[in-house]
Subunit: 321 residues, 2 copies
């Protein structure tokens, strides 16, 4: 650390790649310097268009993100990419962490790419993704693309963080319809049917059309478009970008963007409060010995968990109880 | 409410079905009576064998649970079943909630079946599943079977709650291997290859064998068996039950059960503390007006979320800060 926090923040704001990399690392390590930095960067954030790209494994998310980033770059935008990698919640090892991602973009200095591990966080989105996006946003990225591991319900968390959510589908994945039912369909602002050179593309398009036509209409009046693409060749990518632009205009005209960010901030504020309260109380009241003693009491059924937790909470919050 | 809490608790402990149903409903509603009841039931819980059954949609979890419950009943055990249904996190509607489940068991008074919705809880397990299992346990169930929606990472939460976890696999589901990688394979104490009359059963068995033989061995020294079954016909069910019994004996002899429950209680205690602290502070400090004012401040970038939350936490925990 040779820079003061203030100098460091200024370098991030100026788009200095090394300062950005160090900022993200500090945030990922849960370093208190990271938090200090985020406080200084916050007022400069909120300008980027944040686009979430989600879909089951094998639908081509990385490729779409890579090509989309290239298209935004070609239009003069500065682009940040956050790829959230699957991690085993037990072993803690990142599966894809060391692969070299998105080769075609590696030499472009106006694109910032960061891979993150999920570290067993149940939502799938790495807990610090919010902060990494805020850093890239403050550092001047016009567009931030978030690629998430498309397993289960993390799509919902992406949808909260992103201004627009793209759901990738490919023909012939039989279990998709069941995944949709778990709520994934409801979060998509844009459907990209990828790999439409595979058999079953028309059937898939019909199924999604049918599902959208029977779905209750969205509160905001937007009807999510369905775009066919073959991301590996770039076919259809122009239409994907155009549809995203249309949605952005729609959002800005209908104040949908503000509404969505309001929902996001409410949820983010409550989550941070939950987290910070807990961490402070755990640090102050659950030194290693006390925690093990409590666990032993529960294991032996000497005290029930509700009475025990009630007592710890009352002690922590003090007489104001 | 005609009974006192004490009378109600005694009826639950005596296995009274109406009292059990009312207890579970109270817990599901987040009723404070539910918590009072749980405090009284806790000392009688901890005796049941809790078995989690998980797997992707379409692997036959319901059928396996139904047949397994029948087999335990035939051996004289009292059985509780908790089926956790998928719910859309946005619409809140339970998809399978109203279907009539497990018809063959409906008339057996020694089997208690309860369907629950996940209500958007990210782990997939309904937040109150822990408490429902505790009620069935205290009410005298010898075995409690938990069937979970097999999407994403909720399997991990089941594995923490259960004494034994059964993972169902079926031949020909191409995406399974990728799901495994996300950590699901590591939580299984027993693999059941279901629908082995379908093509690809031998290949699947070989793949799982191969994966287990290359996996680093478990800390407890147990090598998860692989059992073939056709749950719809009951074929192989005896072997499944036998393997579960073997695992139970192994766990009891190796004190693995106690170790697992210690891990469970540590995680449960911390989760309850996190939850209760937050609820109390939110109630006392975030009356509707304050919350909306804070959200507005964040939306306008007048204050950064870390400084804001730091202030609320400091105010809540008082001068002991």
């Amino acid at each position: 650390m040779t820079d003061s926090i203030q100098t460091w923040a200024e370098k991030v704001l100026a788009g200095d790649r090394r300062a950005i990399a160090r900022a993200i690392s500090a945030v990922e390590c849960g370093d208190s310097l990271g938090t200090e930095l985020l406080k200084r960067l916050f007022s400069a954030s909120g300008k980027a268009q944040v686009i979430g790209v989600t879909g089951s494994p094998g639908t081509g998310k990385s490729t779409l993100v890579e090509k989309l980033a290239g298209a935004y770059r070609a239009a003069g935008a500065r682009v940040g990419i956050v790829a959230v990698d699957p991690t085993s919640p037990f072993s803690g090892g990142a599966l894809l962490g060391d692969r070299i991602r998105m080769q075609s973009l590696a030499s472009d200095k106006e694109i910032y790419i960061r891979s993150m591990a999920t570290r067993g966080h149940l939502g799938g989105l790495a807990p610090t993704t919010h902060d990494v996006v805020a850093i890239l946003d403050a550092a001047g990225c016009d567009v931030v693309l978030i690629e998430t591991v498309g397993v289960g319900q993390d799509e919902v968390e992406v949808a909260r963080l992103a201004d627009a959510t793209v759901l990738l589908l490919v023909p012939g994945m039989g279990d998709d319809v069941q995944t949709f039912k778990a709520g994934v369909m409801e979060i998509a602002d844009l459907y990209v049917l990828n790999k439409t050179d595979l058999p079953g593309a028309d059937l898939l398009a019909q199924e999604v059309e049918a599902m959208l036509s029977t779905a209750s209409s969205r509160g905001d009046g937007w009807r999510p478009p369905i775009v066919k693409a073959i991301a590996t060749t770039g076919w259809g990518l122009g239409e994907v970008k155009q549809a995203l632009e249309q949605f952005r205009c729609f959002q800005e005209q209908s104040s949908g963007k503000e509404k969505r960010r309001r929902v996001y901030w409410r949820s983010r504020l409550l989550e941070l409060l939950r987290q910070n309260l807990f961490e402070k109380v755990a640090r102050e009241r659950l030194g290693d010995d006390s925690l093990e003693k409590y666990v032993e009491d529960l294991l032996q059924h000497r005290v029930d968990p509700y009475s025990l937790v009630g007592r710890i909470v009352a002690d922590s919050l003090g007489a104001g109880d």
